[in-house]
Amino acid sequence: MTALQDQTVYRGLWAVLVQYFRVPQDPPEIPGGGRDNTSPFKPAQAFLGYLKFWFWMLMAIIDIGVLVGWIAIMIADWRIGLAVLPIVVIVLIAPTIVAYIALQLRFDTTWYIMTDRALRIRRGVWIIDERTITYENIQNVKVTQGPVQRHFKIATVVVETAGAGSAGGKQRAAAANQGALEGVTNASEIRDRILLKMRESGSTGLGDELSLQQQRGRAASWSPAQFDLLREIHKELAAIA
């Protein structure tokens, strides 16, 4: 699967993308990341296989359709059939090459990074989209895995915030308030890590300042009213004595 990455043509294309189309070459980074596991990671290699599986499924359907159409033309009139043969061949082959490279590019430009405070997802070749979400703001975590993904032993972890989700919320990774880590092999590990962070924070993740008061409450559990009460007890006892 890495064969394409090593090929000269692909490397040349990559160089063009980096130089003229300003595709970032380096993985993303988060400032002040923290201690553990700040190194960016990519989807598993199996994710590429998964993408290619769907690509071949789609291509097979299209190719069969085109072939059936061409055979029909051949039966009707073989001269027209021969004339359109080059077009048919181009239609069959060109999208395959383009899509094949596009899949590899999509794979190569997808990056995830998780620090102990936030996660960042970068994806896209023409339109590069980077989203940053702190664990504090995550509302829920979903892990989805279809039968084909299960065969490739990968899954998708989706984190959702309370941000603005558009009507296209059904689409994977398209809704604006979601961050999807697609094609990871250690989905449950990532989920547990995020859930742990969510439990630690104990706030609702809606920008509330509750945590400040909670911290204050933890630091000093005596309220002014209690002080007054204590003073009164003191006075009372002093009077009895």
Binding site: I127, R131, N137
Partner: protein, 175 residues
Amino acid sequence: MNSIQSFDPAATTRPDDSLLSYYILVAAMTLIGFPFVVLPLYFKFRTLSFRFDDKGVSMSWGILFKREIYLTYRRIQDIHVTRNLFHRWFGLASVSIQTASGSAGAEMTIEGIRNPEALRDYLYAQMRGAQDDALEAIAESSPNEAQTAGDIATQLLRDVLDEVKRLRVMLEQRS
């Protein structure tokens, strides 16, 4: 490309001039629609202004219909940095900030900032959860508050204890 200068919030009040070039290019992509697309974009560019203060950011634009958005850093839910091809050529990006207001799109889309990574990192640092802000806030506002409150309580309790002891001794003597 990796030279990320730090973002200066106070100095950033106007978009970069390259935003106008970007807008003209975007309008040119529509071919015949050019005059209709470029005029609103031009006026948006002319009137667009930002104000970053220590709690939040405001952005305003418009000539006929004026708009001003203000949001606080603490309420940011997530930050998107989207760069299309033209953005990348001009070194710009569109930085979308989402809050939990429930609207369909991003609440604020900041365009025309050179060095968008620095802006993003600045916003990220102000965002909830990026730092241990609660503890820091206590430490800043009243460094010894928790300590003194605990001390007062302890001292009062000790006084109460002493009084009760004296009372007990007196009662014992009387009986």
